[in-house]
Subunit: 335 residues, 2 copies
DNA sequence: GTTCTAAATCTAAACGTTTACATTTTGGAG
DNA sequence: CTCCAAAATGTAAACGTTTAGATTTAGAAC
């Protein structure tokens, strides 16, 4: 009445468990007739091989861990779905974990993942310094960093061109004739936050536009800060004529603020955002944005991981940088 | 140089593995001094218990499977996050699987999940008939159905009041003075699709409004059908004055169509949707919707599952029905 | 019918834990 | 110091596979 095991199958088919194992794993070297008998037994017993036992001896679980900092930011689920699709194709399952940007939570999750013997790890860390990854490095499992690099350890990394994207965005605004361009930055102690500011600054510099203090505001990549800072911009004696928001969630906040302030998008103020958002085509006018290849990011990440996991490929760590793309819609008007 | 095992710890602390096991699992009955020695050894070796081996003997993995039919529908990720939060609290990990509404894919995934010995399963099935669940029932693991019932087997189920929600929505429209109310239905062979139509019809009946053929259109719960059918409605010699969309994705499609047709929302046509959507407050005027307690749905589902998994509680299967709520915004104008 | 080789099959160990049961140790009572 | 019960610790089996290496079998060649 218990779950049938390989032994039950063996008994019923009148062979040893080794032979059953061979047919389960399609290793060949089993007489046609024997195989048929075994297959029949499997069928009759509704036998399902036990992956736990298999993992035990094979020392591999066909499972990977994914750690992201914020499930509520649609960017990550999209990246994850890219990872998962590729993973499933190769027979891997994933444990998805959310740290809520807490390095402590990350540390705990890492331990659990290690207990569960994941074969690899894809992570967007909550703390780029990376001390919390020591245990993982000790365990010597392959790691791929996505969207945020890790300072302390050399690992495969896949990023997108933040500086490049922010530069393109800012230049686009400049070429439309804007001079008073504000930026709502992300946290400056994070790479994406910092680099996007760098791209903004670089564009301004290249076109000889001074960076003005009041137009550079630092948010936390969450919706509410976008809203608050937009309102702050509105209070300025000399309002900016264009705003560049550093991420998707803050963009949503900006839109809410604009609506609440009745600050006319595309007329009184131009807007460009980093990352495409669902609402982009539903606001009026539709938003021009810097778009990142999110699924692709995930796909590349898994592929890198896969090579390390299967081939035990131990070559130099790679840094892959994907290019963002400017999606021009109508929120940036000539000034 | 291999991963340290419980045996390595035992050797180093000069005790037997049984004693180490006892301290790892906080079972007590270990002399203070001994425990300290063991803890030290664990620390020094960076020992991490192997959950696979533990599962092997305990016959439990602290893992559950979640099967959903469409990751791209934000409804499911939200439900899932409700499940996951509760699960994590109780020390469970989840395998999230997407069937893309295919019963065959579902069958495959079910097998893999069973191979991996999940302790329980939460599922929104792609085929309510439920034949594909036979293997799971054979394995005797607890199952909770979410959002869609399963006909063939008695399982714990958590649903929301579809008829009720659709009734409320339609009545709201009627009370605003509408008589020509169209519905964009979901597939009529699915419970949610069918029941929402039933609620619509019931409201019409109760208020003595005839159901007219041309105003009842069947979509597939995907965005594109919402768009297409809205356009079809627009072609009608006598256009409806209000539209009820049966789910979130189709609502998005409707909005796109309205925009493309320049069919003025809230003025020329009122609108109400089943399920709240991100864009609801970004279109103008904001959308009135029937909102479902999505996270709650997930939380309840896990809690039901948890009882079955831990207490082996074998009582009668329960059906839990959560109530939807009407969120009145401004897309339904008096006619 | 033998003999031999290759193919098929089997035996048993190993994977890293938990746990029932057996054994040893501790320390207080006498 | 001896004895004893309780507390601490140890031993070994079990969990369900995979896989070396040993053994058996099949069938061709003679």
């Amino acid at each position: 009445m218990h779950k049938p095991t390989i032994e039950d199958v063996a008994k019923r088919a009148n062979v040893s468990i080794a032979t059953v194992s061979r047919v389960i794993n399609r290793q060949g070297g089993v007489r046609q007739k024997t195989e048929a008998r075994i297959l029949a037994a499997i069928e009759e017993l509704n036998y399902i091989p036990n992956a736990v036992a298999r993992s035990m001896v094979k020392k591999t679980t066909n499972t990977i861990g994914i750690i992201i900092p914020d499930v509520n930011n649609p960017f990550f689920p999209t990246v994850v779905s890219g990872i998962e699709q590729k993973a499933r194709e190769k027979g891997y399952f994933t444990f998805l974990c959310n740290t809520n940007e807490s390095a402590d939570t990350e540390r705990e999750l890492l331990t659990i993942l290690l207990e569960r013997s994941v074969d690899g790890l894809i992570i967007t860390t909550a703390d780029e310094a990376g001390d919390q990854l020591q245990t993982v490095m000790d365990a010597k499992i392959p790691v791929v960093a996505v969207d945020r690099a890790i300072k302390k350890f050399e690992v495969d990394t896949v990023l997108v061109g933040n500086v490049d994207g922010a530069y393109q965005a800012t230049r686009h605004l400049i070429l439309q004739g804007h001079k008073r361009i504000a930026i709502i930055c992300g946290p400056q102690n994070t790479t994406p936050g910092y680099e996007r500011f760098v791209g903004y600054k670089k564009a301004l510099d290249d076109y000889g536009i001074p960076v003005v203090q009041e137009y550079v505001l630092e948010g936390d990549f969450k919706e509410e800060s976008g809203r608050r800072l937009t309102k702050q911009l509105y209070q300025l004696p000399e309002r900016p004529t264009a705003i560049f928001s550093s991420n998707n969630l803050m963009t949503v906040g900006c839109m809410k603020a604009l609506y609440e302030l009745d600050w006319k998008l595309g007329e009184e103020v131009s807007f460009i955002g980093f990352d495409d958002v669902d609402i982009a085509t539903f606001v009026n006018p539709p938003l021009t944005v810097v778009s990142r290849p999110m699924r692709k990011l995930g796909e590349v990440a898994f592929e890198m991981l896969y090579e390390r996991m299967t081939e035990g490929w131990d070559g130099a760590k790679r840094h892959y940088v994907l290019s963002p793309e400017l999606k021009i819609r109508q929120s940036c008007r000539l000034k």
